[in-house]
Every structure is written in C-alpha cells, then in structure tokens.
Amino acid sequence: MTDQTKIETTELKLTAKDFSSGLDVRWCPGCGDYSVLAQTQRVFANLGYKKHEPLIVSGIGCSSRFPYYMSSYGFHGIHGRAAAIATGLKLVKPDHPVWVATGDGDLMSIGGNHFIHACRKNVDLKIMLFNNRIYGLTKGQYSPTSETGKITKTSPYGVVDYPFNPTALALGANATFVARTIDRDAKHLQYILEEAAKHKGTAFMEILQNCVIFNDGAFDDVSKKDVKDDNILMLEHGKPMIFGKDADKGIMLNGFIPIVVNLSVNPQLENMLLIHDEFEESGILASILTQMSEKTGLPTPFGIFRRVNQPTYVDGVTRQINEVTEKKGKGTLQKLLNEGNIWEVK
C-alpha cells in the first residue's frame, strides 16, 4: 500500500471483529445479508488486510447499507452507480482492493450499464451481488432477476419479463472472474470471497441471498439441508462434475447441452463427465454452466465459473501514465506554461 500520509499501524493481524464498524446493523432479523457481512469480515481478516486498505462502495438498497457496517473506508453511493464510483476510486487508489456491495436492482436494473462496462474494462473491482430476486428496500417490487410469473407488489398478475441470468450477462460482457455462492453456506461464501480477492481483475460474485420479508425461501431448493445436495453442482477446478446427496450423478454434454447421468446405474460414464476448467479462455464452458439451474432439470452450479488473467484497466491506465512520464519527464507548472506556440511581446 502506498500512501502519502502513512502513519504507524499496528502489525498485529486483525480479527473479523476488527472489521466491524460498531454501528448497529439495521437489516431485518434473519436477513441473508448478515451472513455476507460476517464472512466478509472474516475473509478480510484472513487476508491480512489493514482497516484502511479495503475501500467499500455501494449503491442504494438493503444490501447497499453494507459499507456502514465495515470498519474500513466506506461509500454509500446513489442507486445504481456503485460500479462507476468504485471505478474512479480504484483508478486513484490502484493499490487498494476496492469492493462493491450491490443488489439485483442496484446492479442489474438501474446500474446495468456500469456493471457491464466494469466487466468489459476489467477495472479490477470485487463485485458482490446480493441477489435476493426482489427490491428489498422499496418493499417488494420485482427485480430483473425475479422469475417470470412471480406475484409482487408491482406484478399483481405475475411478472411478464424474463429474468437476467447474472452470470451469463457478466460473461457476455467478458468478465474475467465469474462465480456463484450463497449466503447460507458460510464456508463456500468465504472461499469465493477469498478467491475473488486474489483475482487480478474485475471479479463478479453472484451471492444468492434470502430476503426473509419479501421473498422468503427463494433459494430453499439450493439451501435446505434435505434437498440442496441434489440441486447444487459444486464446481471444482480439474474435477469431473459430480453431484447429488450420494455423489451419484454426473454432468455430460450432449452436443452443447449438458445432461444429467446417473452414475450408480451407469458407472462407466464417469470418465466421460465434463471436467471443470476455471481457466478455459473462451468462456464457453462457463456459458454452458450459466444455462444450468433447477428449472432446466439440472443442478445449479456453485463455485468459480471462470477465472482468466488479462491485464486490468487500472494497470493499463497507470502504465500509460508512467510511460509518457518517463518519455516526457514529469510535468511542472513552469513546463505547463511553456508549452505550445508562444511569442513574446516586449
């Protein structure tokens, strides 16, 4: 970390608790946001961050209150603009991790444009999408990730829209790190947060998050103990895609279409299963994964869909500045006033 005003900071590693701002947390009791907050605090401690290092930016929404509860620098922005604010901040603080806390309305409805541009440019933001498939803070209107047909305050006869598939959109915008996890699975959530932190480039994390008030149970299929193992495909790099309570189901491709095969019936198919490859450049494997969900009769993939290395936008900007400065010499006021077509009047 380079900082003009470096002051002595303790060298002790901080704990999760150190990352709490101490302000009362104002989410509803039982809200999935609590878990994301707790895991983030833990992961920041694990990563050895100092308090002043991570910079956290959000938009507006229940989830966007996140920065208030962290002890680091926080900026609670305006609705939809978190990624844009964070981009400016990251450009001037290239050595600091810049995290974005945002909701499905904030990021994918009003903020959709900033989102896809932050992905495209590989700005190097860590984007946590709290996807509860509803507008929480405004009390229960449908969001761009709400399912077709859902009854909400603004869709008394059911939603007519088709929802966005957040991971698919991120890939379409060429995001270099795309992952999915869930509020209820603390360990997995921590894992994803950590890997995102380590990724150099924009990291997009879809975090399925239960809104107990306006969309309770939206993720029961993938979070309830008794059913979740049959509905989740836990992605592991280099491993064949196997799932199920008894790890007896696998994923194969039929053309471009993933299908489920029963390994206890057909054990021989085991070595024809799809092998997960996070680093697959083209993003096609990741695209195939985005198509999968309970609704298509397939398990919902959790984990890292894609992670590829590509120079970041911030690196590019910094490099260009350095190169030009090297070539032309650092500008001074004297130089500035001497540039151009100048003549003298006596």
Binding site: E53, Y73, R81, A86, G88, H114, T325, K330, E344
Partner: protein
C-alpha cells in the same frame, strides 16, 4: 516572408473582421485557425468565432453544410469576434448566401468563382449567379478561380484531382496572408509537422499556400493591400488559446498548485469534448482521464476519485449536466471537492449542439432534488477559463464542496491571445487534511463550516459517508427532524460563507453614471465594447461583470442599488435577472436575444443608448 511591399497601394486599418466560409469539408476551421495563429504571432489582438453545423459533412454545396470561421483582429484591444465581417472568403455559393445578410455594407467578397457553376448555384438555391446578376452591388467583389488555380499549381505533385482540391483552402489562406500582409512561415512550419507522415501533402499544401500568396501579389485584381499594425499588448509571453484549451490547462495548473493529482471523469459531448481531449494528453502531469460510459459514470467516477483524494473534475455540456444532477446532489451531501464544468450550448434538449447560449445558469443553480446549494463561477473570455478553472478548484478544495464552472460554446471554441502568467503570479491552493485520528469526526467543521478531508485509504481515519442525511459532527446516518433542519441550514451557510473568500464585484463606472450594465460569462467582450462605444458617444455609464455568481460577491446588493437603471443582456430568457430580482428585489432591464450566437456589440450599444434615453440615429 520578408519581401518588400511592391507597387501595390497599402491601406492602414485599425481592425478588420474576416469570415472564412465554405463546405464542412473545405477545411475552413483549419484555415481560420491558421490565420488566427499567424495573426496572433504577428502581434495583433484578436478574437474568433468558429461556427459550424452539427453534421460532420453535410452534402457539399448546401446551405446547412456551410462551415464558417469568423476572426476579428486589430491594432487596439479586440474583445469580440466582430459584429459583421469586412471581408468574406466564400468558397462556394452557399457560403456566400449564408453570410451575405451579416456583411458590413461595402464589404469585400472574395469568391471562388469556379464553384459558382450551375450545380453550385442550384444547391445554394440561387436562381441566377449573384456574382454576375448585379445583386451584390454595394459590395466589393473579387472573383478568384480558386479551384482552377489550385489545380494548376499542384498539377505536378502527383496527387489526384480530388486530392488536389483538398488544398484549395491553403490557396485561399495564402491569398489572405498577402492581402493582410502576414507571414506565411508559421503555417509552412505547421504543415511540415502536421503532415510529417505524408510528405506529398506537405509539398502540395505549401505549394497551394504560396500560389495564393503570389497570386495576390501578381494579379491586377487587388490594387490595395491592408496593414493592421500590431497591438500594444502588455509585455509578456503570449499564446493564442481557446477557452477549452485554457480550461484544460487551468485544471492542470490547479493540480500543480494544490499538489494534488488531477482526475477527470467525462463523456464526450459537443462543445465540451475538447477539454477531455486536451487533458488526455497531459499524462506526464499525472492526469488521469477516464472516458466513462455516460455522463453519470463521468461524475460518479469523479466523486469516487475525490473520495480517494484527487482533485476531481467532470466536464460536459447542457444535456450532460442534466444527467449529472442526481450525482451532484450526492457530492453536496458527502461534502467532497469536485468541479463540474458545463460548456453551455443551445438548448433545450439536443437543441443547437454547436451553437452558444447561456441558458444553463438556472439548471446549475437549482437542477437538483432537495436543497442542494452548489457554488457557481463563470468564465468571461477564452483565457479567463484558465483562471476560473483554478478558482473553481480552489473553492472546491478549500470549502469541501462541488463547484460548477460555466463556460459557453463561444468562448470554448473562440480564441484570443493570452498573456501567460509567470509561475509566481499564481497563488498556491492550500488543502487542509484531517489531522488527528483520535479526534477525527467526518462532519466536524471549522470556522467556515468546512468538514475535514480524510482521503480514503489514509490509515487511521477510516469512516463512511453517503447520500442519506448525516448527523452533524459524526456523520452517521440520521433521520431526526431537528438534525435535518440544522444540516440544511449548515450546508446553505457553508456555501454562503464562500462570499468572504471571493473578490468583490468590480465596477468600472463613469462618475455620475446612473445606469449600470451588468453581465456574466461569455458576453463580457461584447458588453465591454458596447459600453466603450456608448462612452465614446459621451454618455455616462457603469459596468460590472459577474465571474463569481453564487454566492454573489458581498457588494452586489450595494452596487446594484446605487444605480437607477440596471441593464442586463443575457443569451437566455433572463436567468441571472431572475436570480438578482429574487435576491435584491430590484427591477432589471433585460435584453434577451437567443440566437445561438454571441451578442453583436453594436446591438448592445443601441440597447444601452435607448435606455439612457439617447438617440441611436
């Protein structure tokens, strides 16, 4: 070009207005700029008005495709681009038709007669050839076969006929250099650098330039050439500068003066894009330019950068400012330094994108939800943009507030010779940071009600801000009724106290004057000229010009109440007038002509004299 002036007659002039006009593809902006730069180097004061259509290259020969560049230069002070041209260079019939109504009586028209063929006349909707049908009686017409002469001169360059025709503006430029006795060398040098990678074009353009120059000298057509003595400018180093360039340089200077790196978040829009373009070159000054996906991301990124401790700005024009208003309110609430530059253009909506106007003042004042006061400053000339960029930055940093800097299409694109200040003439911008992490509270305030700045990432000052109402002092979210009332009053008073740090309104008054002419922004030159002429006619009048608009300078009320009549010309429907009337409850004589063009000082002169009870005949 040190040759002696030969047999031709030489006439001395104190000032001249020249209009170069042709198709959008004819290179008139380039020609005008070259003539300006050479004229500036030559030592004349000058002022320019580029005037081009919103389309890039409208179909050749049509009226709406005409691109013009007006230039006023003289041996005295020159404050406006000139009311009506003394000389028109018309590259085609459309250029003639469009500019004719505005020419001075007896003006000189240099027409490319080759372009006045039946096709050209038809495109310009001329029934008969105006050069021949006597309709131009009252003007001095010079028919020059610019097309053919350029062709002849360049026939051996190996260029195609089409490519050769692209050099005809250099022929016209050469001819004008001869006519006004300017050297061709600066343009020759420029051509050499500009076309470094295409030597064949260096050759062609210089040939065309010289051919034009010698044509003036050789032909019988021009019996007289003109001399405009250089101006007696204050001694110093000069540079011909446009408002947009001056704005860009001003912010780089502000960055150096405040010792803070500069961040610009912006989205291209006419006529503001150039500021982004200029600043994208200053990489060795540490300037970060972020071409955002839209105007909202432009300002949002700047707010983020300000939170991170940079001197942050965003630049735009009218419709872009409209998009930035929500985020501007966030900057008010978070009390972060930020300069929003708005280069005003013709509105409403997309309006007249390439024309000038002053109709965004009320938007700048009030275009935000809730009570969200933002200080406003406005530049009055191209070079004043340099100083106002610095002053806007100073206010933003000293008072922890967004500031809006208004310029307009006319001063943004127009140029004038600028006496470059010495480094020592520029006052440092002091930046105060939060100092003690133990006692730090983000919304604690100093005697000017300014909160402390603790850029994100500084160890020990971790804190959180945002757009919800804040508790006074500790800055936490607070919904309490009394706190809200208090914070609204504090934010207003904080801006109000900036009064104590800006200069008083300067009044240039004849003794006993009972009328004052006031103005703001880019109308400065036209008002100045008008007032001067009114004075020359023996009238008493006072003048004052607002560069600091909100808060008003401390002495504003006192000044205005001293005069029986207050005349306020604005290129809008009376926006500053509204603000002054509401604040001081005084009547104001408004003059509002909204034509997308700067005022003609002769029009203003008439208005002032009428109001003085004088006679305009």
């Amino acid at each position: 070009m040190s040759e002696e002036i030969k047999q031709k007659k030489v006439e001395n002039l104190t000032d001249v207005t020249v209009m170069f006009a042709g198709d959008s593809g004819d290179g008139m902006q380039l020609t005008g700029t070259q003539f300006s730069n050479t004229t500036a180097l030559f030592g004349n004061d000058l002022n320019t008005l580029p005037d081009y259509p919103a389309e890039i290259r409208a179909p050749a020969g049509t009226i709406y495709g005409v691109s013009g560049f007006q230039l006023h230069f003289g041996s005295g002070n020159v404050n406006t681009p000139g009311d009506s041209p003394d000389v028109l260079v018309a590259m085609n019939p459309a250029a003639l038709k469009k500019n004719l109504p505005n020419l001075k009586p007896n003006a000189m028209i240099i027409a490319n007669s080759d372009a006045f063929d039946s096709k050209g006349l038809k495109l310009a909707k001329y029934e008969s050839n105006p050069l021949k049908d006597g309709s131009l009686a009252g003007f001095k017409i010079f028919e020059v076969q610019i097309t053919r002469l350029t062709q002849n001169a360049l026939s051996d360059t190996g260029l195609s006929v089409k490519d050769i025709q692209r050099s005809k503006n250099f022929f016209a430029l050469g001819l004008m250099y001869w006519l006004f006795d300017r050297p061709i060398e600066p343009t020759v040098e420029w051509v050499k650098t500009k076309f470094k990678k295409e030597p064949i074009l260096i050759d062609a353009n210089i040939k065309a330039l010289k051919a034009g120059y010698y044509y003036g000298d050789t032909t019988e057509m021009f019996a007289t050439k003109f001399k405009v003595e250089s101006s007696k400018l204050t001694s110093g180093r000069y540079k011909n500068i446009s408002g947009n360039e001056a704005t860009a340089v001003g912010f780089v200077a502000a960055s150096l003066l405040s010792d803070l790196p500069l961040f610009l978040g912006s989205y291209p829009i006419t006529p503001a894009s150039e500021i982004l373009q200029y600043l994208s070159k200053y990489k060795n000054y540490g300037v970060i330019t972020f071409q955002a996906e839209d105007e909202i991301a432009g300002i949002a990124s700047a707010i983020g950068a300000s939170f991170g401790g940079h001197l942050s700005i965003t630049t735009t024009s009218g419709p872009g400012l409209a998009l930035k208003t929500e985020a501007a309110g966030l900057a008010v609430m978070t009390e972060l330094p930020l300069v929003i530059v708005n280069v005003q253009r013709g509105g409403p909506s997309t309006g007249l994108p390439t024309k000038t106007e002053q109709a965004d003042l009320l938007q700048a004042m009030y275009g935000r939800n809730g009570e969200a006061p933002i200080p406003i400053v406005a530049a009055s000339t191209p070079s004043d943009c340099f100083y106002m960029a610095i002053e806007a930055s100073r206010i933003a940093l000293k008072h922890m507030t967004p500031v809006i800097l208004l310029t307009d299409g006319y001063i943004a694109n127009g140029t004038e010779p600028w006496r470059i200040p010495e480094v020592s003439e520029l006052k440092k911008i002091e930046v105060k940071y939060a100092e003690n992490p133990e006692t730090f509270q983000p919304y604690n305030r100093d005697e000017n009600l300014v909160r402390p700045w603790a850029p994100a990432g500084t160890p020990g000052f971790e804190h959180r801000i945002g757009g919800l109402e804040k508790s006074n002092i500790n800055g936490n979210v607070n919904y309490e009724p009394e706190n809200h009332h208090e914070m609204i009053k504090i934010r207003a008073e904080k801006v109000n106290r900036i009064k104590n740090f800006i200069p008083d309104l300067e009044v240039l008054a004849d003794e006993d004057a009972d009328t004052i002419v006031i103005g703001w922004g880019g109308t400065y030159g036209a008002i100045l000229d008008a007032v001067d002429r009114v004075r020359e006619k023996g009238h008493k009048v006072a003048q004052a010009h607002f560069r600091f608009i909100y808060p008003f300078p401390k002495n504003t009320g006192e000044v205005l109440k001293k005069y029986k009549k207050v005349i306020l010309p604005e290129i809008n429907d009376g926006q500053l007038a509204k603000l002054l009337k509401a604040e001081f409850l005084i009547d104001i004589i408004q003059h509002n002509v909204i034509r997308g063009l700067p005022f003609r000082s002769s029009d203003l002169e008439k208005v002032i004299i009428e109001n003085l009870g004088g006679n305009n005949d």
